[in-house]
């Protein structure tokens, strides 16, 4: 005997994790869309006249986000201009399918699309980086570069705001990770629905209270076209465990996800506690707790032929760097301040943390299906996990580096 919809008495198609309600398809669509609308209006996420870049990876969250933003913008007349913004890391073969998905979404949802490449952003493709440094450490690059890519891309596009598809599960997971790491600074920031409201390029998360299950169900029932074999260059075991934990507690008590977010929100930090000082990278303007941000240190290393700079045990590299700098004098536009370099280096050895592309580590160890770097051999990755390896036989062209980010950017960018 089918269960009936709690609202209209038709036969129900899903049980909402947040409320336990059984709903039919139409009542679910309505509840889902209205809740996101309420999130957007309650938190004043959008302002008439703004251009909003939707970070689009071709995955489920950003695909549903693009669909919903378009729908609500039309339905409620938000009056914002929406743009899809995708980042192409420059990994041969790997982005093809997901970028194809984003291109289809562009047509399906009638939204402009801008694909911005690592080459435009950093002067290096991931392929070229892997070629330089080998696969052992590419995750560090991947993680750091990815975290900044969307912000840098949005700055280049000149949009007012970024919207990302982070959902309630993602945020709960991040809360747990920050608790386990004792990272009080990030713990404060990670539950914020918008970040960077004071002068920096703001980011907002319209799915902050939206359960992953509902996003996936919505995409399934609406037949939305998304891509799910995300190639994870760098599996992050730590986030994988946090994710599994969240899913386990959700199974027992579905409200746990929202409860964890609320716990994160209600934590207050005593005034006496010294919070990490948020500065700005003196080279690129990205928010950084060091004088020079991680990405800039790594780029410096790549450009100077010391690709291992900024990753792992770096004493040797640093000495080489010091020698180089002293030979050239200090005005070569490179890292002028060894102290800031030191402090930047000291914080880089924490493995990869791919905030927006994280997925279950083990689901992705089968990288052959998704990443062509796996063609020839396997090697160990940062977490000592088996990891797809680079074919290493392509010609690596070292391009003259583009220097857009060498000049200072006035606007601050948020470290997410």
């Amino acid at each position: 005997m089918p269960i009936r919809c709690n609202v209209c008495n038709k036969s129900a198609t899903l049980k909402r994790p947040k409320t336990g309600d059984a709903l039919c398809k139409d009542c679910f669509y309505y509840a889902f869309e209205e809740e996101i609308h309420k999130t957007i209006t309650d938190a004043n996420l959008l302002t008439k006249g703004e251009t909003v870049a939707i970070g689009a990876s071709g995955g489920k969250d950003s695909t549903v986000l693009a669909y919903i933003m378009k729908l609500l913008n039309d339905r409620y007349n938000y009056g914002v201009k929406l743009v899809l913004l995708s980042v192409d890391e420059g990994i041969t073969g790997y982005r093809d399918d997901s970028l194809e998905t984003v291109k289809r979404n562009q047509v399906q949802y009638d939204l402009p699309l801008k694909i911005i490449s690592y080459e435009e952003l950093y002067g290096w493709t991931m392929d070229a980086i892997v070629k330089q440094i080998g696969l052992k450490n590419n995750c560090t690059f991947c993680g750091v570069f990815r975290r900044q890519a969307l912000d840098r891309g949005a700055l280049l596009l000149g949009v007012d705001k970024i919207a990302t598809g982070h959902n309630a599960d993602d945020i709960a997971e991040t809360v747990i990770m920050n608790v386990l790491r004792g990272d009080i600074g990030r713990l404060r920031r990670c539950t914020a629905i918008t970040t960077g409201t004071d002068g920096a390029l703001p980011r907002c998360k319209p799915f902050k209270y939206t359960y992953e299950k509902e996003i996936v169900m919505y995409a399934y029932f609406k037949n939305l076209d998304y891509f799910s074999t995300e190639c994870i260059y760098s599996p992050n075991a730590y986030r994988g465990f946090a994710r599994a934990y969240i899913k386990d507690v959700e199974k027992i008590r579905p409200s746990a996800i929202i409860d964890i977010i609320h716990s994160g929100e209600s934590l207050s930090v005593k005034k006496e506690v010294r919070m990490p000082v948020q500065g700005v990278c003196e080279r690129c303007g990205y928010i950084s707790s060091n004088k020079v941000c991680k990405a800039c240190v790594m780029l410096e290393g790549l450009n100077k032929g010391l690709p291992r700079l900024g990753i792992g045990k770096t004493h040797k590299e640093r000495r080489k760097m010091e020698e180089m700098l002293s030979e050239r004098g200090s005005n070569s536009g490179s890292l002028s301040d060894m102290a800031s370099l030191d402090s930047a280096l000291s914080t880089t050895d924490q493995g990869c943390d791919m905030s927006s592309f994280d997925s279950d580590q083990s689901l992705n160890s089968n990288a052959e299906s998704s990443c062509r770097h796996s063609i020839s051999d396997q090697s160990k990755c940062c977490n000592n996990e088996r990891h797809a390896s680079c074919c290493g036989d392509r010609n690596c062209v070292t391009i003259e580096k583009i220097t857009i980010f060498d000049k200072k950017v006035d606007q601050k960018v948020i470290d997410f």
Binding site: P2, L14, G59, T63, V216, Y220, S228, T229, L363, N366
Partner: protein, 93 residues
């Protein structure tokens, strides 16, 4: 049976499978089906699909396009021509 969201990677990378279950004295339930899938269909890393006697949390199950949580979950008795869908939510988005 249909697999998506990344779950298909564990099942021969195929999204659609037509499955004929062997005759059995008692009706097939999802609870019987899962270990049978593990033995007969699952190609790799069963721990990503099965946890204990049920599916791993984070894998959504739909029976004839309705959430299995409304259908009795493991106790549902499978009928001829049922459409069963497994969607992984564990992949990046």
């Amino acid at each position: 049976m249909y697999f998506s969201g990344g779950a298909e990677l564990l099942f021969d990378k195929k999204k659609k499978h037509d499955v004929n279950l062997p005759a059995k004295e008692t009706p097939w339930t999802i609870k019987d089906l899962l270990p049978w899938m593990k033995d007969n269909m699952l190609k790799e890393r069963p721990e990503l699909f099965i946890q204990g006697e049920t599916v791993r949390p984070g894998i959504l199950v739909l029976i004839n396009d309705a959430d299995w949580e409304l259908m009795g979950e493991l106790d549902y008795s499978i009928q001829n021509k049922d459409k069963i869908v497994f969607i992984s939510t564990l992949h990046g988005g």
